[in-house]
Protein backbone atom coordinates (compact mmCIF):
# COMPACT_ATOMS: atom_id res chain seq x y z
CA UNK A 1 0.00 0.00 0.00
CA UNK A 2 2.80 2.37 0.94
CA UNK A 3 4.40 2.04 -2.49
CA UNK A 4 1.15 2.68 -4.31
CA UNK A 5 0.42 5.68 -2.19
CA UNK A 6 3.87 7.13 -2.70
CA UNK A 7 3.55 6.55 -6.42
CA UNK A 8 0.25 8.40 -6.49
CA UNK A 9 1.60 11.21 -4.36
CA UNK A 10 4.64 11.76 -6.54
CA UNK A 11 2.74 11.72 -9.80
CA UNK A 12 -0.66 13.18 -9.13
CA UNK A 13 -0.44 15.90 -6.56
CA UNK A 14 -4.00 16.90 -7.39
CA UNK A 15 -5.41 19.22 -4.80
CA UNK A 16 -8.75 18.51 -3.25
CA UNK A 17 -9.87 22.01 -4.16
CA UNK A 18 -9.45 21.14 -7.83
CA UNK A 19 -11.17 17.77 -7.62
CA UNK A 20 -14.07 19.37 -5.76
CA UNK A 21 -14.54 21.83 -8.60
CA UNK A 22 -14.48 18.94 -11.09
CA UNK A 23 -17.16 17.10 -9.13
CA UNK A 24 -19.23 20.27 -8.84
CA UNK A 25 -19.17 20.96 -12.58
CA UNK A 26 -20.08 17.33 -13.28
CA UNK A 27 -22.92 17.64 -10.77
CA UNK A 28 -24.25 20.71 -12.57
CA UNK A 29 -24.05 18.88 -15.91
CA UNK A 30 -25.95 15.90 -14.50
CA UNK A 31 -28.49 18.29 -13.04
CA UNK A 32 -29.10 19.90 -16.45
CA UNK A 33 -29.39 16.48 -18.05
CA UNK A 34 -31.94 15.34 -15.45
CA UNK A 35 -33.89 18.57 -15.77
CA UNK A 36 -34.26 18.10 -19.53
CA UNK A 37 -35.10 14.38 -19.14
CA UNK A 38 -37.70 14.75 -16.43
CA UNK A 39 -38.57 18.45 -16.77
CA UNK A 40 -38.24 18.87 -13.04
CA UNK A 41 -35.49 19.86 -10.66
CA UNK A 42 -33.56 16.76 -9.50
CA UNK A 43 -32.63 16.23 -5.88
CA UNK A 44 -29.04 16.11 -4.67
CA UNK A 45 -29.57 12.39 -4.05
CA UNK A 46 -30.52 11.79 -7.68
CA UNK A 47 -27.45 13.68 -8.87
CA UNK A 48 -25.22 11.83 -6.40
CA UNK A 49 -26.55 8.49 -7.64
CA UNK A 50 -25.61 9.34 -11.24
CA UNK A 51 -22.12 10.33 -10.10
CA UNK A 52 -21.85 7.33 -7.78
CA UNK A 53 -20.89 9.56 -4.85
CA UNK A 54 -22.43 10.17 -1.41
CA UNK A 55 -24.84 13.15 -1.33
CA UNK A 56 -22.65 14.84 1.28
CA UNK A 57 -19.71 14.87 -1.13
CA UNK A 58 -21.76 16.42 -3.89
CA UNK A 59 -22.96 19.10 -1.50
CA UNK A 60 -19.42 19.80 -0.34
CA UNK A 61 -18.20 20.00 -3.93
CA UNK A 62 -20.92 22.46 -4.89
CA UNK A 63 -19.71 24.69 -2.10
CA UNK A 64 -16.30 24.87 -3.75
CA UNK A 65 -17.73 26.74 -6.74
CA UNK A 66 -20.14 28.84 -4.75
CA UNK A 67 -20.01 32.37 -6.02
CA UNK A 68 -20.37 35.27 -3.64
CA UNK A 69 -23.94 35.30 -2.44
CA UNK A 70 -25.95 37.85 -4.33
CA UNK A 71 -29.00 39.33 -2.74
CA UNK A 72 -32.34 37.69 -3.55
CA UNK A 73 -30.85 35.79 -6.40
CA UNK A 74 -30.66 32.08 -5.70
CA UNK A 75 -27.21 30.94 -6.58
CA UNK A 76 -27.68 28.44 -9.38
CA UNK A 77 -30.34 30.29 -11.37
Amino acid sequence: IGEIRRYLRDNTPIRVSRSLRDIAYKALQVRDKLVSENSKEPTVGEIAKELDLPSEEVVMALDAIQEPVSLFEPIYH
Partner: protein
Protein backbone atom coordinates in the same frame (compact mmCIF):
# COMPACT_ATOMS: atom_id res chain seq x y z
CA UNK B 1 -37.04 19.61 20.49
CA UNK B 2 -38.37 16.50 18.78
CA UNK B 3 -36.13 15.07 16.04
CA UNK B 4 -35.14 12.03 14.00
CA UNK B 5 -31.55 13.18 13.72
CA UNK B 6 -29.44 16.00 15.13
CA UNK B 7 -25.94 17.42 15.23
CA UNK B 8 -24.05 20.16 17.02
CA UNK B 9 -21.00 22.00 15.68
CA UNK B 10 -18.74 24.38 17.58
CA UNK B 11 -16.09 26.44 15.84
CA UNK B 12 -14.08 29.64 16.20
CA UNK B 13 -15.47 32.91 14.87
CA UNK B 14 -12.77 33.21 12.22
CA UNK B 15 -13.98 34.28 8.81
CA UNK B 16 -12.26 31.29 7.17
CA UNK B 17 -14.69 29.06 9.10
CA UNK B 18 -17.79 30.60 7.58
CA UNK B 19 -17.67 28.46 4.47
CA UNK B 20 -16.79 25.42 6.57
CA UNK B 21 -19.88 25.93 8.75
CA UNK B 22 -22.06 26.39 5.70
CA UNK B 23 -20.75 23.14 4.19
CA UNK B 24 -21.39 21.22 7.42
CA UNK B 25 -25.02 22.32 7.60
CA UNK B 26 -25.50 21.60 3.90
CA UNK B 27 -23.97 18.12 4.29
CA UNK B 28 -26.30 17.40 7.21
CA UNK B 29 -29.31 18.70 5.27
CA UNK B 30 -28.33 16.38 2.39
CA UNK B 31 -30.07 13.49 4.14
CA UNK B 32 -33.40 15.20 3.44
CA UNK B 33 -32.57 14.86 -0.26
CA UNK B 34 -33.02 18.53 -1.16
CA UNK B 35 -32.54 20.10 -4.58
CA UNK B 36 -29.41 22.16 -5.31
CA UNK B 37 -31.69 25.16 -5.01
CA UNK B 38 -32.86 24.26 -1.51
CA UNK B 39 -29.27 23.59 -0.41
CA UNK B 40 -28.24 26.99 -1.78
CA UNK B 41 -31.04 28.65 0.21
CA UNK B 42 -29.86 27.00 3.43
CA UNK B 43 -26.23 27.89 2.77
CA UNK B 44 -27.09 31.51 2.09
CA UNK B 45 -29.09 31.80 5.32
CA UNK B 46 -26.41 30.08 7.41
CA UNK B 47 -23.73 32.34 5.92
CA UNK B 48 -25.65 35.45 6.96
CA UNK B 49 -26.21 34.17 10.50
CA UNK B 50 -22.58 33.11 10.95
CA UNK B 51 -21.27 36.36 9.48
CA UNK B 52 -23.38 38.26 12.00
CA UNK B 53 -21.76 36.31 14.85
CA UNK B 54 -18.28 37.05 13.51
CA UNK B 55 -18.83 40.73 12.76
CA UNK B 56 -21.43 41.92 15.28
CA UNK B 57 -21.46 39.48 18.19
CA UNK B 58 -17.71 39.09 18.64
CA UNK B 59 -16.65 42.19 16.68
CA UNK B 60 -13.74 40.32 15.09
CA UNK B 61 -12.43 39.02 18.43
CA UNK B 62 -12.32 35.23 18.53
CA UNK B 63 -15.31 33.60 20.21
CA UNK B 64 -17.14 30.29 19.83
CA UNK B 65 -20.06 29.85 17.47
CA UNK B 66 -22.41 26.91 17.99
CA UNK B 67 -24.67 25.53 15.28
CA UNK B 68 -27.31 22.93 16.09
CA UNK B 69 -29.37 21.28 13.41
CA UNK B 70 -32.40 19.05 13.94
CA UNK B 71 -34.20 17.00 11.33
CA UNK B 72 -37.80 15.95 11.79
CA UNK B 73 -39.51 14.33 8.79
CA UNK B 74 -38.99 16.83 5.94
CA UNK B 75 -38.19 19.75 8.26
CA UNK B 76 -34.75 21.05 9.19
CA UNK B 77 -34.29 23.47 12.08
CA UNK B 78 -30.97 25.25 12.36
CA UNK B 79 -29.84 27.23 15.41
CA UNK B 80 -26.87 29.59 15.18
CA UNK B 81 -25.77 30.64 18.65
CA UNK B 82 -23.15 33.06 19.93
CA UNK B 83 -22.13 34.31 23.36
CA UNK B 84 -21.30 37.74 22.08
CA UNK B 85 -22.61 41.18 22.75
CA UNK B 86 -26.30 40.55 22.04
CA UNK B 87 -28.94 42.75 20.43
CA UNK B 88 -30.72 45.56 22.30
CA UNK B 89 -33.83 45.72 20.13
CA UNK B 90 -34.37 42.53 18.12
CA UNK B 91 -37.46 43.75 16.29
CA UNK B 92 -35.63 46.81 15.06
CA UNK B 93 -32.51 44.79 14.12
CA UNK B 94 -34.62 42.50 11.96
CA UNK B 95 -36.06 45.30 9.86
CA UNK B 96 -34.76 45.52 6.28
CA UNK B 97 -31.85 47.94 5.92
CA UNK B 98 -31.34 48.32 9.67
CA UNK B 99 -27.65 48.05 10.48
CA UNK B 100 -25.22 49.19 13.13
CA UNK B 101 -22.35 48.98 10.63
CA UNK B 102 -23.07 51.63 8.05
CA UNK B 103 -19.66 51.40 6.44
CA UNK B 104 -20.28 48.00 4.86
CA UNK B 105 -21.76 47.25 1.47
CA UNK B 106 -25.20 45.67 1.16
CA UNK B 107 -25.73 46.44 4.80
CA UNK B 108 -28.80 45.67 6.85
CA UNK B 109 -30.22 42.85 4.74
CA UNK B 110 -28.92 39.81 6.66
CA UNK B 111 -32.10 39.00 8.59
CA UNK B 112 -34.19 39.77 5.52
CA UNK B 113 -32.15 37.27 3.52
CA UNK B 114 -32.62 34.61 6.24
CA UNK B 115 -36.36 35.31 6.24
CA UNK B 116 -36.54 35.10 2.46
CA UNK B 117 -34.61 31.86 2.01
CA UNK B 118 -35.99 29.97 5.02
CA UNK B 119 -39.61 29.23 5.99
CA UNK B 120 -39.41 30.40 9.61
CA UNK B 121 -37.05 32.69 11.53
CA UNK B 122 -36.87 33.42 15.26
CA UNK B 123 -34.27 35.50 17.07
CA UNK B 124 -33.67 35.47 20.83
CA UNK B 125 -31.05 37.77 22.29
CA UNK B 126 -29.85 39.07 25.64
CA UNK B 127 -27.54 42.09 25.59
CA UNK B 128 -24.19 41.12 27.06
CA UNK B 129 -25.02 37.40 26.90
CA UNK B 130 -25.51 36.48 23.28
CA UNK B 131 -27.91 35.66 20.48
CA UNK B 132 -29.74 32.61 19.14
CA UNK B 133 -31.07 32.58 15.59
CA UNK B 134 -33.45 29.70 14.83
CA UNK B 135 -34.33 29.02 11.18
CA UNK B 136 -36.59 26.33 9.79
CA UNK B 137 -37.02 25.03 6.28
CA UNK B 138 -39.38 22.41 4.88
CA UNK B 139 -37.63 20.43 2.15
CA UNK B 140 -39.69 19.49 -0.89
CA UNK B 141 -42.42 21.95 -0.04
CA UNK B 142 -42.40 23.72 -3.40
CA UNK B 143 -41.93 20.69 -5.61
Amino acid sequence: MEYNNMMELKFLSKSQNESFARTVVAAFAAQLDPTIEEIADIKTAVSEAVTNCIIHAYENKIGIITIRAFILDNKITIEVIDEGKGIEDVEKAMQPLFTTRLEEERAGMGFTVMQTFMDELEVESTPGKGTLVRMTKYIGRNR
